[in-house]
Symmetry: C2
Subunit: 302 residues, 2 copies
């Protein structure tokens, strides 16, 4: 998490570009080339996704500190899609991005340990070790309680990695469980307090822990409350832009140094050329423009 | 879900074999062969896993109706591991098993839709369609509420698939969030009522819906209560055997026809040869013996 905060400081830009490559977001010249070469196949989809993602990362690497590939959009293209996920993470690291793997993984202790190995640790291989996937951090779901989270925290400590625990999500129905009130406190507050506990041992000289929280931009009242409860927690904030959250809705999530939160935009950046009615060939230029606009929108509000 | 219930009836065996292939569970002769051919690599691990899984499935296919590969244990071997997951599902279908992909996936609506496509639906490919992974059902996490679950339910209806929603999990810390009491009802009861709602439109002539529930064998008092709340829900029951749940703990989860639940054993079956101190070459024989013992243990208790 220290690396993320450093990059944010260097670039003066607390944002992350979500890489959720639905085929309909990808310029037609890329899709046509892939289809021509590989047919109507998962391989063609994966190649198109990779070309699109690499173009975006090339256009953003000097202004945006982090990327967040969302696993579902790769898994839906099968093995080839997962290969594109792996290659996207690898390319992002080569370009210097901090990489948040958005998988929302969760399970009982022994199985969470396997997920933690897959994304944050090292896999034992016949006496040697290998890294299955190489992101810097992973999003995780807290519904199974501490023993489903602590294996991830252990890897954060051992390999200087991070996690972001779902606390208050950005979607319309997030309140069905998260807003239920127990002894005067909402479930999301209970989870926030657990996040503090889970992260306590990992707080470093930045003042922040390795255990972050996912807090949606779409619920400003709740996120204000969560900021007060979790002063040492980095917030990963989805819901800005396409989902309706504004810079004003999230300004209070930052500390006095403009640190402590990273705001995601996926469609806003990926589809900027479509929104502008520009040709597909200009997707990099428009992604960059939107990333700069977003940076200015957010930094001027905080 | 109808197919699962039919298979359980035909075989008179309400159990599922979990395929969580940690390398230390795999006989050394298989590991040595894979290492010799492919070195200390993910490829070697994947080949060993596949040989082990295929041996288990060959030994069990006439007595056990379903298998449940757990995604984490494959993802930890990277792309090669995910290939082994894909091949395991494919082989299981060829052998006639009902396949429960245990991924505990979850996200906001649009992203849940991508996961639902990946595991239960069909992916759009340049005007054609393809199936990314081909299980019959998927485990999912409810923390994000209805809009994270309904895309899965839609695929259940469209493609005759099923899901199992985490309600009360088998792990020691499951109560930290799941047992919190809201207006006199535990969170797991709230989730159970949502499961009823989500499944209502999918109840068919079996009397059961396509939306199942994960209910741990390790909490018999809670599961008894959940059976009463969810009369039309098939329970996927982890925690039998290695985690401490007994046949007595789960007998009340079945209806008068012995239907309505499927009990998982992973380590118990996979590691039966180790527990007996038998040579690795006998792993199939001991897995089969344990599967038969488990079947008799459970069917005699219900």
């Amino acid at each position: 998490m220290k690396e993320l905060l450093n990059k944010i400081k260097q670039m003066n830009n607390p944002t992350v570009a979500g890489l959720d490559p639905v085929l309909s977001y990808i310029p037609s010249y890329i899709l046509e080339k892939a289809e021509k070469e590989y047919g109507k196949t998962f391989k063609a989809a994966a190649e198109a996704i990779l070309e699109f993602n690499k173009g975006l990362m090339d256009a953003l690497s000097d202004i945006v500190p982090a990327v967040k590939p969302q696993s579902a959009y790769y898994e839906m293209y099968g093995l080839e899609g997962v290969r594109a996920y792996y290659e996207t993470i690898k390319y992002a690291k080569e370009k210097g991005f901090y990489v948040i793997a958005d998988g929302k993984r969760n399970d009982i202790g022994s199985t969470s340990d396997a997920y933690a190995t897959a994304y944050l640790g090292k896999t034992q291989l016949f006496g040697d070790q290998g890294r299955a996937f190489e992101p810097d951090s992973l999003t995780v779901n807290p519904y199974l309680g501490s023993d489903g989270i602590l294996p991830f925290v252990k890897r954060c400590e051992e390999f200087d990695k991070g996690i972001f625990v779902l606390v208050k999500t950005s979607n319309p129905s997030s309140g069905e469980l998260q807003d239920l009130v127990v002894d005067g406190e909402e479930i999301y507050v209970k989870v926030a307090k657990l996040v503090n506990q889970w992260g306590e041992s990992t707080v470093n000289e930045t003042g922040y822990s390795a255990v972050g929280a996912v807090v949606g931009a779409t619920y400003p009242e709740q996120s204000k409350k969560l900021r007060a409860i979790m002063p040492k927690t980095v917030f990963l904030v989805p819901g800005y832009g396409a989902q309706g959250g504004t810079a004003k809705d999230i300004a209070h999530l930052f500390d006095k140094d403009g640190m402590g939160a990273v705001v995601n935009s996926s469609r806003g950046i990926m589809c900027a050329y479509q929104k502008a009615g520009a040709p597909g060939e200009a997707f990099c230029e428009f992604a960059r423009k939107e990333a700069i606009r977003m940076k200015e929108d957010i930094t001027s509000a905080i």
